[in-house]
Structures are given as structure tokens and as C-alpha cells.
Symmetry: C2
Subunit: 253 residues, 2 copies
């Protein structure tokens, strides 16, 4: 009998998030599942790692009957630990999410959900990050779970090139289907809220809105979401800008 | 009289790092400088941001006579704050470093130094991250400072395309020159060290070595460093893998 593939499930919303539990439920249809996540939210940790503190990871109460570990590290730390000190065998797949809130466009660089997926791809296994465009703790993941199953099955059927992962964003409500997209060109415009604490000292809350530089471009992930499609963007770890590279070759140093 | 450009200097090694002070010294030749950094090290924070804690930033003792702010945020948080609530005008350039230790190849995704430079580019200004291939707190930055001056002058002369920043790594010793490169294809192989604390509980120290998948490729940043050249890699915020995108279009969903 062939051994079932080992699927590592993680997220950045923490071990108590509904989206994590929902993802475990889906992945149990595809293989043996292990979970690692954090007690506190790791939202916004991007590809951050912990270099100046020791990491701890301990088994905690199982989620849906599968071995579950709690880590004090970032999502990337947790993936790194999972490929090293924790389990008897290394994961065959890394699946991250389902995030409460979209990680489309430039959010890919800030997202801990995608940090984990990117790290999985660096360990040479097919890796996917899933996000639902709904921040609410009690968001309805029932439709998103169907998309997760469809996309993961496609990855099983087709494979993924090494060092590439998928950023999958699912709209609220009922998706019309799935679109393969590129990352939307856009940015977050910050609107820090300045307040005074009870001691009269200033502090700032990061807030803001997303600015889309190419509104209505049908090949972009945001456009797909706005038209109620789930958006799949293949993500590469090579951040070289090859167009600029050619220009720079004409500079004299 | 034309106003001097405002240059934001930041780093991820914290406000007491020698590399930060050295970078301020160089940038004073190019414009008006303001500094923002953190009390503690933010190494490895990548593009991480702080979403669930308030940020604080306060003026502290000037470095080389320029206004200096201490922030409790990540390098990206500090750049975001600098474009919003802190100064009378927004920076015209963001310069990050000089990092104690190289940020070549895949380290670009984990590096707080590069997180700050990437964030600067998202704010639409030319941005550069500088790193010296020497981890020591008392590393000799004298040669690296010449490279910083050369490269920054080139950026002044030629400009940079929007949403692109430069990842500049300088070898130890005397560089033979400057090479324009692409990001080396490689990864960190972790070797977590497992220990027991005084209470008998396990903890793990992240450690490891770099594995170069294309040893000796002359167009890569690691190869340039190994041959004693400073390496410049233009870095893009578009993480779409376009090659995979074309393949994915043949998948049926």
C-alpha cells in the first residue's frame, strides 16, 4: 500500500482561526495532515523569520483528529521547523490558510499566509496559499473549500514547477469559477491614525486603503475577485527585475 | 535656491549599529538626511508589518547631527511612518543599511534591510538596500562606503524605474568593482539546533548554511561577491511567475 502524502497545513491567523480548521477538513480528503500554527496572530509577518530568539513548538489538542503543533514562530519559522526537527517525515505539500481576508496584489509581500507558501516552495514541495476575501472571524468558508479542493486536485494532476507556489484568493459569496491571473499592480496607501495614550504620548495605528493602478485589467487578480472569480497567481521567489537589469547594464560604474 | 533632496536612512540592525552611522555619513554628501530605526534588531523581518499593535516613533539623540527617530516597528513600518505622520515633507529617497551581513540571493525575501528598500520603492521614490558581507559589529565599512557613494550617484544620474529598488551587496575587503547581476538561485538549508531549557523543555535555534544551485554562474550576485565584486540586483515587487502563468492557462478548472 502506498503511503499517503503528508500535507502540512498552516496559516497566519493563529491556531484558533476558523479558516485553519476549514482547511484541515478539506486537506483530509487528500492525504495525511499535520497542523502547525501559532497561539497569536502572525498576520503581516510576510516572509519574516526569527533569528534572535529560540523557537518552541509543542503538540496541542488535535484539530479534526490530526496532529497539531503550536509554535511561537512566524509562519515561515513554522514551515522551516516542520521540514526539520518536528516530524518523522517531511511534508510532501504545504498548504496555508484559509486566510481571513484577501492577499491579492502587493499584499503577497506582507502576507504571513503567503510567507508560509513561499517557504514551502523553497523546500521543493508544491505549496499553496488560500485566502478568502472576508475578514470576519465567523466568515463562511463553505464555497472557498470547494475552490481549495478543485485547485489542490489540479496541482496533484499537473504538478507545480519547483520554487513556485500558488496564491489563491477566493471572493466572498459564490465564485463564478477560477481564473489564472497575474499580480495586480497596486499599493496600500497608509492613513495612520495618530492618538494619545493616557500618559499623553503619541502612538500610531496602521490603517489604509488599496490603490489599484490598473483598474479593470481582466488579467489581474483583483479584477478576477471583483468579478466574483477565484484568482490564482503563480508566485516566484526570484525577485530580479529583468527589464531593469537590461537597463542597468548600460550604466557605467 | 533649490531645496536639497530628503534622504531617509534606515536599517534592520537597529539604531546602535555601526553600519547605520556609516551610511548616514555617506548620504550627508547627497542631501538632507533623516534617520529612523529601532532599538532592537529587526533582522529577518523581511517585508513584515505590524497590524495588531500600535506603533510609536520618537526623536532620539541625533546621529552625525541629523534628526533621528526611534520606532518600535519593523523596517517596513518605519518607512510607512516616514511617508505619513512623522516629517514635514516626505522622503525623496530611501536608503537602507549598511547591513552587517550579505543579503544576496534568496535572503532578499527575509531581509529587513531589503524590506525597507522595497517599501520605499512602493512609495514611488528611488530606494536602495546596502549590505556588507561581514556580520561583525565592528566590521570595516570604509570600502563599502565608496561603493554606496558610487551607486547612489549613478541612481541620481540615471534614475530608477518606479516600483523597482536596488539590492546592493558589497564583499569584505577591497571590491574590484561593481557588477549588475540577477538574484542567485539558491536556498538556506536549515540545521535547527535542539536544546533543553533549565526546565527540561525543548527549544530550537534557527541555523543553517546557504546552498547555491548555480555555483559559478557569472551573472549571479553570489558569484560576483565570491569574486570580490559588489553586486547590484534590481528588485521588483511583482512576484508573478510569468513562465508558470502560461503553463497554468492550459489547466482546466
Amino acid at each position: 500500500m502506498t503511503e499517503k502524502p503528508l500535507i502540512l497545513v498552516t496559516n497566519d491567523d493563529g491556531i484558533h482561526a476558523k479558516g485553519l480548521r476549514e482547511l484541515v477538513e478539506v486537506m483530509q480528503f487528500f492525504g495525511e495532515v499535520v497542523v502547525i500554527s501559532s497561539e497569536v496572530s502572525m498576520s503581516g509577518k510576510g516572509c519574516g523569520i526569527t533569528v534572535d530568539q529560540p523557537l518552541r513548538a509543542i503538540p496541542v489538542e488535535k484539530i479534526h483528529g490530526v496532529p497539531t503543533w503550536k509554535s511561537n514562530g512566524t509562519p515561515v519559522d513554522s514551515v522551516k521547523l516542520s521540514f526539520n526537527n518536528l516530524f518523522d517525515r517531511t511534508p510532501d505539500y504545504v498548504v496555508s490558510g484559509i486566510n481571513h481576508g484577501a492577499n491579492s496584489s502587493i499584499s503577497v509581500i506582507y502576507s504571513g499566509t503567503m510567507g508560509a507558501a513561499i517557504e514551502g516552495s523553497l523546500h521543493g514541495v508544491p505549496s499553496l496559499g488560500f485566502s478568502l476575501d472576508d475578514f470576519r472571524p465567523d466568515a463562511d468558508f463553505s464555497k472557498a473549500k470547494i475552490i481549495v479542493a478543485k485547485v489542490f486536485q489540479s496541482v496533484l494532476d499537473n504538478g507545480l514547477p519547483p520554487f513556485t507556489c500558488l496564491n489563491v484568493n477566493v471572493p466572498k459569496g459564490k465564485p463564478k469559477g477560477v481564473k489564472v491571473c497575474r499580480q495586480t499592480h497596486g499599493k496600500w496607501v497608509e492613513e495612520f491614525e495618530k492618538r494619545l495614550d493616557p500618559h499623553g504620548r503619541e502612538y500610531h495605528w496602521l490603517s489604509g486603503y488599496f490603490k489599484n493602478f490598473e483598474e479593470g485589467s481582466p488579467e489581474t487578480d483583483i479584477d478576477a475577485l471583483q468579478n466574483n472569480y477565484a484568482a490564482i497567481v503563480p508566485v516566484s521567489v526570484d525577485m530580479t527585475c529583468y527589464k531593469t537589469l537590461e537597463q542597468l547594464k548600460n550604466w557605467t560604474f
